[in-house]
């Protein structure tokens, strides 16, 4: 009996140790060897494509105020409410004292400079596909933005989702670095894939999630309930979105559907961002969407 108890304790301890080992944050370095120069103007485009301001600007900020990344916008979900943190250049409230390496690890590993997991409300699973050059340009650009001392709000997430270490387990299950759309792609389709599955993270809202909040890859971009509880985010696979590539690109520029209804909801901000990109990028997104598996 005593032996059995000892064995049970041994198993429990081993389980905890293995658990701690596999859920530990990935703090491997992001290689910047190939980056020789950085360009803040290119960084401004990365910033627009990544939609950084749409989440990190103060709620309801418009115009130039959107460049003050003081945070505070709330994101309700099945797991609780997340608040976008201050990522302005303020060295205590924001990320002004971060190194480029820390910034890159946050974006692509979902790990903070203190070595903690970020909740995946921050779309690092998509940003993980960012090139080192884009990260470097973005970092250089964000250094030019204003500082703001507004403190970040604590997330309001209930137990057990509040255990940061558990995010390590979530990452094992759902943090896949592979592209979803594979096969022979044209240069434009590849660029569109980088924007849609990576930097622009279209997939984060347009793909439904399972009970644990992982993307349901069998219904890639096939639409999902709006996490705010109101309305639905549409299916944009070719089975539902039958617009021409020209019409899709025009929608991403002006917000007009082919019937001249206009975008609403969060998509208005997405279009504001995408409209700043070169026309070729919006055409690339349209080309990519035509290569997505149709899901009725």
């Amino acid at each position: 009996m005593k032996a059995l108890l000892r064995f049970a304790i041994f198993c429990a301890v081993l389980g905890v140790l293995v658990g701690l080992l596999v859920t530990r944050p990935d703090r491997s370095e992001v290689a910047f060897d190939a980056v020789t120069i950085t360009d803040t103007q290119a960084g401004a485009l990365v910033f627009a494509a990544g939609g950084c301001a749409s989440c990190h600007a103060a709620p309801d900020a418009t115009g130039d105020a959107k460049l003050t990344l003081s945070g505070g916008r709330s994101f309700p979900s099945d797991f609780g409410t997340f608040y976008a943190p201050n990522i302005s250049t303020d060295s205590s409230a924001g990320i002004g004292d971060w190194t480029r390496q820390q910034f890159a690890q946050a974006l692509t590993r979902g790990v903070s400079p203190e070595g903690k997991h970020y909740f995946p409300a921050f779309p690092y699973t998509a940003y993980a596909k960012m090139t080192a050059q884009d990260i470097a340009d973005l970092f250089a650009y964000m250094q030019t933005l204003p500082a703001d001392a507004t403190p970040s709000l604590a997330h309001n997430v209930g137990f057990p989702f509040s255990i940061r270490r558990a995010v390590g387990g979530w990452k094992i299950l759902f943090f896949l670095r592979e592209y979803q759309v594979v096969g022979a792609l044209t240069e434009a389709e590849e660029r569109g894939r980088y924007l849609a599955e990576g930097l622009g993270h279209c997939t984060e809202c347009h793909t439904p999630r399972n009970a644990l909040g992982g993307l349901d890859r069998s219904r890639w971009l096939a639409g999902a309930p709006n996490p705010s509880g109101k309305g639905k985010i549409p299916n944009i696979t070719p089975a539902a979105l039958d617009w021409s590539e020209t019409d899709i690109a025009a929608y991403l520029t002006t917000g007009f559907t082919p019937d001249y209804d206009s975008a609403g909801g969060e998509m208005v901000e997405v279009i504001e961002n995408l409209a700043q990109l070169p026309e070729a990028d919006r055409a690339a997104l349209a080309a990519y969407l035509k290569r997505v598996t149709p899901v009725p």
């Binding site: 109101k230 639905k232 020209t246 002006t254 007009f256 001249y260 975008a263 609403g264 901000e269 279009i271």
Partner: protein, 160 residues
């Protein structure tokens, strides 16, 4: 004896009141529905004229200055309709069927007015641009789109 009178009187008054309010609601409903259809017709006209301009802007149809001018002046005229009788209080999503108007239209009336005036300004700019040449039309198109989006984001509820 007194009680005997009071009771039926109270009951009949109550019945009258209920019936009266029901009839009143019927009238109000009809007025709200009429306002909703009228402003949806306004949106349809905005969309129709914007389509003529937008299709030229994106190169789907060749530029024609007469059509563009006509569409722009229609758009400017329709954008200017007096909102006070179209956006009746209570004609709101969740209360009345068939509308996606958000309560914010009335709780933030100044913001709604400013957003609507945004389209008036953009449409007025389009009137002078549309007939000039394709490049001017294209340059003015973005402001039209931005204003549609800004207003719909803040004041139009979700489709489903």
């Amino acid at each position: 004896m007194k009680k005997l009178f009071v009771l039926p009187l109270a009951a009949s008054l109550a019945i009258t009141a209920i019936a009266g309010s029901a009839i009143g609601d019927g009238h109000a409903d009809k007025a709200l529905q009429a306002a909703i259809s009228a402003r949806q017709a306004q949106m349809k006209l905005i969309s129709f004229n914007t389509a003529l301009l937008g299709d030229m802007a994106k190169g789907a149809v060749p530029y024609d200055s007469a059509t563009a001018s006509a569409a722009a002046s229609n758009l400017a005229a329709v954008a200017k309709l007096d909102r006070s009788i179209l956006w009746l209080e209570g004609s709101v999503q969740g209360t009345v069927d068939g509308t996606r108007a958000k309560p914010d239209i009335w709780t933030d009336a100044a913001g709604f007015d400013k957003a609507a005036q945004g389209l008036e300004t953009a449409a007025a700019a389009m009137v002078s641009a549309a007939g000039t040449d394709l490049a001017s039309l294209q340059a003015s198109m973005k402001a039209i789109g931005d204003n549609c989006g800004t207003c719909h984001k803040a004041y139009r509820g979700p489709k489903n």
